[in-house]
């Protein structure tokens, strides 16, 4: 085993050393690399995003929505029953003053949120509304509400089965609950699932959690200052990421972690202002959302088209069921693992139900999307895939145009926000990937350093090249995490139910009570 690890590590080092050269060549060899990579990974990507027979509904989206529904029913709507309790936990009402100085529930929630709030909320929603119309919002909200139960399940398990080391640090996440939880239940295969999950998590960290972010950040920056080579952004970003994750320069991370929530608030604030100014249109916008949800209002695929887009973007945005949040929440020292579960169920609510809905409402109200005045139906683009917009904008530009139509300087703030969100998502995913990496190769300074160096190299590659197939592959990797994770959750959910029963009875009996502060 040790031999294998050494071989893999030396191979990884070789990749890390060769990669800067690769990054430069990647620009000139872009096409070749794309083609070769697409050929190699195509079948895997195709499998993960394969549509259900006779539809264009990717089965993976159904997989996540069904899981969220099952968990919602299995825990009898835990997201609503314990909603106010979750708020009380975050406020610190149940925190023992003697534990002051440990990671608080609020901090755990904020850390996990900074990993999920980002491009998905700004660009992803625009894609959903761009293709599926306002009706997609309805399905997105529904998926977000159901996803709260998935997060609850995975985060409770993440804390319950994490590893605590003698030096006081902790490592947790799906790989740990898969191997330990399956062992406890006497089920075979936990270790295999854990290894599979870890591999997908590392790939997802390099791809969606890194290259995609670097790529989008570069697109935003070059959108403001004019076109310039991507590797410049890449090197700059890689240097900052290097300083944070390798150099331990926490001040940079701390500054970002402070600005990101501020940007999030600014974003929601701006959206609220736009909604307030157009308060007379809010009722109409919700009307559009409901009407569109069931009729499609002329979008491609009608109601089903709206539903697919809504579900898909909710899953992309809040990562419920993917397992990433379980890693983030495991770092919290709490006597009751389930309290982390309660806190985490707020994430899909904030991420999807609040922030994504704001984006969707602003786009709908802005009227950037073109409607045929005679029929009230949306006018589609020439290829029929999307709703036509003024200026032909889509994706993040659609959000930008919608905000810009009300607040002219906001696109600039939005661009800065996207870059910062991208950075904080990278920092979060570097941690998720690292945990999966150390699960496979063992904890240790050298193994950790190798992962971190490779991670930095991928930042440059991601920003430098327009590697479409690589992005597809990394998206597929993130969703493969969900395949493995949800599969394991079905077996382990009875453990969570036991925890829930025990906790609720102690809460009812007054054994668990608020501390007076």
């Amino acid at each position: 085993m040790k031999r294998i690890v050494t071989t893999i590590l030396s191979a990884a080092t070789a990749i890390a050393l060769a990669a800067p050269a690769l990054a430069q060549e990647a620009v000139s060899l872009d096409q070749k690399v794309n083609a070769a990579f697409a050929k190699a990974t195509g079948p895997f990507v195709g499998l993960i995003f394969a549509p259900l027979p006779g539809t264009n509904f990717p089965w993976i989206v159904l997989w996540l929505v069904v899981a969220a529904t099952v968990f919602t029913l299995y825990f009898s709507f835990v997201q609503f029953r314990f909603f106010s309790h979750a708020i009380a936990l975050v406020k610190g009402d149940y925190s023992d003053p003697n534990d002051a100085g440990e990671v608080s529930h609020f901090q755990a929630l904020a850390t996990a949120l900074s990993g999920t709030v980002g491009l998905g909320n700004i660009a992803g929603v625009a894609v959903a509304v761009g293709i599926g119309g306002p009706g997609a919002t309805f399905w997105m909200i529904l998926a977000g509400l159901l996803g709260m139960a998935s997060k609850f399940t995975e985060c409770t398990l993440g804390v319950k089965y994490r590893n605590e080391y003698p030096d006081g640090t902790v490592s947790g996440g799906p790989m740990y609950y898969m191997s330990k939880g399956f062992n406890e239940l006497g089920l075979p295969g936990g270790k295999i699932l854990a290894v599979l999950f870890s591999i997908f998590c590392i790939l997802g960290a390099f791809g969606g959690g890194n290259m995609f972010q670097a790529n989008q950040a570069h697109a935003q920056i070059s959108g403001i200052v004019g076109d310039y080579p991507g590797w410049i952004t890449g090197i700059l970003f890689a240097a900052i990421v290097f300083l944070v994750i390798v150099g331990g320069i926490k001040s940079i991370a701390r500054v970002t972690e402070k600005i990101v929530p501020f940007m999030g608030l600014l974003y929601v604030g701006a959206a609220l202002i736009i909604l307030l100014v157009n308060y007379d249109k809010i009722g109409w916008a919700f009307g559009q959302i409901f009407a569109g949800a069931f009729t499609g209002l002329g979008v491609a695929g009608g109601m089903v088209g709206a539903l697919i887009q809504g579900f898909k973007r909710a899953a992309f945005s809040n990562e419920a069921g993917v397992g990433s949040a379980a890693i983030a929440h495991s770092a919290v020292r709490t006597k009751e693992p389930i309290t982390e579960g309660f806190v985490s169920l707020l994430e899909p609510l904030i991420d999807t139900v609040v922030i994504c809905t704001m984006t969707a409402l602003v786009i709908t109200i802005s009227g950037v999307q073109q409607v045929d005045p005679a029929t009230g139906m949306f006018i589609l683009t020439e290829d029929g895939g999307m709703i036509a917009t003024e200026g032909g904008v889509q994706g993040v530009q659609l959000t930008s145009a919608a905000f810009g139509s009300a607040i002219s300087w906001f696109p600039l703030v939005l661009a800065i926000a996207v870059v910062l969100f991208a950075f904080s998502t990278m920092i979060s995913w570097s941690y998720y990937g690292l945990k999966a990496w150390t699960y496979l190769f063992g904890e240790g300074k050298t193994t950790e350093l190798i992962f971190k160096l490779i991670f930095c190299v991928f930042v440059v590659i991601g920003a430098a090249a327009n590697l479409g197939p690589v992005i597809d592959f990394s998206d597929a990797a993130i969703f493969s995490m969900a395949v493995v994770n949800v599969f394991a959750l079905y077996f382990l959910m009875k453990i969570v139910r036991k925890e829930l029963a025990s906790y609720s009875s102690r809460l009812a009996s007054g054994e668990i009570r608020k501390f007076s502060h």
Partner: protein, 145 residues
């Protein structure tokens, strides 16, 4: 029954002044226990990276150890040497709130702190810990100049 006096220290000269005053006061009272309290400024509402969260427990232990070793224990040792009864406490939290909490929990007679000589921007905006303590405290507060 012995009276308890909470003395807030900060590792600076202002803390020394508070200690000196408290020692004199304790000497006059007689049966009296001095609680030397150091509060590590900490907020449950700050933002941290996942890695910081993971190492938080260790950092907390380190912070407490350092505060005890460098600030609280030397002060307690000095007071004990001077024939006074003294005990050290290190806590995390908001300085004003945490000092008041300690005083309430220990049934202390009063809190003794010194006026901080530093004037930072945040103090100008949010007020100093001392000022906040005076406004919020549930027991009498003596502010040493």
């Amino acid at each position: 029954m012995t009276a308890k006096l909470v003395v807030g220290v900060d590792g600076h000269s202002s803390g020394e002044r508070a200690l000196d005053f408290a020692a004199k006061l304790a000497d006059k009272i007689g049966a009296c226990e001095l609680l030397v309290v150091y509060i590590i400024e900490w907020s449950p509402y700050s933002f941290q990276t996942p890695e910081e969260n993971e190492k938080r427990h260790n950092r907390r232990e380190e912070e407490i150890a350092v505060a005890k070793e460098r600030i609280v224990e030397p002060a307690v040792a000095q007071l004990t040497k001077d024939g006074l009864s003294a005990r050290g406490i290190v806590r995390h939290g908001n300085v004003a709130d945490a000092l008041n909490d300690v005083a309430a929990k220990e049934n202390a007679e009063q809190i003794i702190v010194a006026r901080s000589s530093e004037r930072t921007l945040s103090q100008r905006i949010f007020g100093s810990s001392t000022a906040n303590l005076v406004m919020e405290a549930s027991v009498p507060v003596t502010v040493v100049g």
